[in-house]
Amino acid sequence: MKKIAMMLFIAGALSATLSAKNWVIDQKGKTFIPSKLTVHVGDTITFKNSDPFAHNAYTDDESNEFDVGMQPTGKETKMTVNAKESFNIECAIHPNMLLEVTVE
């Protein structure tokens, strides 16, 4: 019985990991493209800076808090969605940039 429970647990965890998706957000023209995203816990979001100058991506949401720091042109950074709580991502340099992330 314990073995079956353990196997089911491992299968579940493995399934979640395998189904986790990576989303790519482009920082271009001083905007996040796309500007809205629907994700699941465990998904990752990759920020790709396609502009010819530096950007940043951060959120102050406590459950998913992160800050990629200064992100030079051409650089990619990644964050993982840890909690089922929707949040906004902004650029610390460009206040007009906003990415709305809905976590389902």
Binding site: K30, A54, Y58, I93, P95
Partner: protein
């Protein structure tokens, strides 16, 4: 040979201008307005009275207009403003012009709207030094204001912190730049600005990289940078947006100001330390006043290797962003 070279330069310049997206410099069709504070004639007029009324300050000698006057580029033309009490504030008065287009207000961006911004200077002891719990009852005793607030904001509780902020913000939303020579140029009149200024424009969007931050109609993208005005790690100095939250990318950063009507609003930068556009352009285009050892200096600020001639061309272009003063009747009588 010289004629051929001249024609070639002219053709290249024309091609550069033809491919540039001139539409992004044009005025937006609408002024942004929040849903709960749409502009009305009553709100604008009320806001204007409040803006110029010295009774809103602790010593009844200072109004919003004292530091942000329409005849002084909507600033006060001094490096840092004089407070109601002794001493001066730490920062240069930013222009009110075109703040309607900004998402963050103040040099450090701590306010997210004109409504959030409006009451800050009134309360601040380094500015108007008037607590709101003193000001609101004072205004409520002025029947003229009671009537005007009820007309502008019916069913909103009369004179409150909220309606006071909304009224002042409503007036500030009308403070917008007029048509400047560059606007005529952007709309197709290629003779609207001088050849020197055209060359300056080409540098502005090209080699000088000014447009990386001074972008679109308002000639600012509202971004935050540390441009190397101060050296070292700024200990004991103004840390800018870093004072809001200890985020590494905010260390020593301040908001990019508009270049609209820039000739009217000297001195420049958050500390008012720069008197001329030539000096301002030189600092930005040469890698900052301090080139090395500046903590968190913006990667946008690099030495672009502009010559003195090119700097003067950029400045000539910047001067084309100044238009006539907006029409405004400054109130001389206030509600009683």
């Amino acid at each position: 040979m010289i004629v051929k070279l001249g024609l070639s330069v002219l053709l290249v310049s024309s091609a550069l201008l033809a491919t540039a997206d001139m539409n992004k410099w044009l005025r937006p069709s609408e002024v942004p307005q929040p849903k709960d504070n749409k502009l009305t004639k009553e709100r604008i007029e009320l806001g204007k009275l409040l803006y110029f009324d010295v009774r809103l300050s602790g010593n009844e000698k200072v109004s919003c207009a004292t530091c942000h006057h329409p005849k002084r580029g909507w600033t006060d033309l001094v490096p840092v403003s004089k407070a109601v009490g002794a001493g001066r504030g730490p920062r240069n008065s930013p222009t009110v012009l075109n703040t309607v287009y900004l998402r963050k207000l103040f040099w450090d961006g701590r306010a997210k709207s004109l409504e959030q911004q409006a009451l800050g200077p009134i309360k601040a002891d380094v500015e108007m030094n008037m607590p709101l719990d003193v000001l609101i009852p004072k205004l409520q005793k002025i029947q003229g204001y009671v009537t005007l607030f009820n007309k502008a904001y019916p069913n909103e509780g009369g004179i409150t912190n909220k309606t006071l902020a909304k009224a002042i913000a409503s007036f500030e939303r009308t403070v917008v730049s007029t048509k400047a020579p560059f606007d005529a140029f952007a709309m197709g009149n290629k003779k609207a600005i001088s050849k020197k200024a055209i060359k300056g424009y080409e540098l502005f969007i090209g080699k000088a990289h000014c447009a990386d931050c001074h972008d679109k109609f308002n000639f600012t993208d509202g971004s935050f940078h540390n441009i190397g005005l101060k050296d070292g790690d700024l200990q004991g100095k103004d840390l800018g947006r870093y004072n809001l939250k200890r985020r590494a990318t905010w260390y020593g950063v301040f908001k990019t100001p508009t270049l609209r009507d820039i000739t009217k609003s000297a001195p420049y930068f958050h500390d008012g330390s720069v008197k001329t556009l030539t000096e301002a352009a030189t600092i930005c285009a040469s890698g900052g006043r301090y080139k090395n050892g500046v903590k968190n200096k913006s990667t946008y600020i690099e030495d672009r290797h502009l010559t003195q001639t090119e700097i003067s061309q950029v400045v000539a272009f910047m001067k084309t962003l100044t238009g006539p003063d907006m029409k405004l009747e400054i109130p001389t009588k206030f509600p009683q």
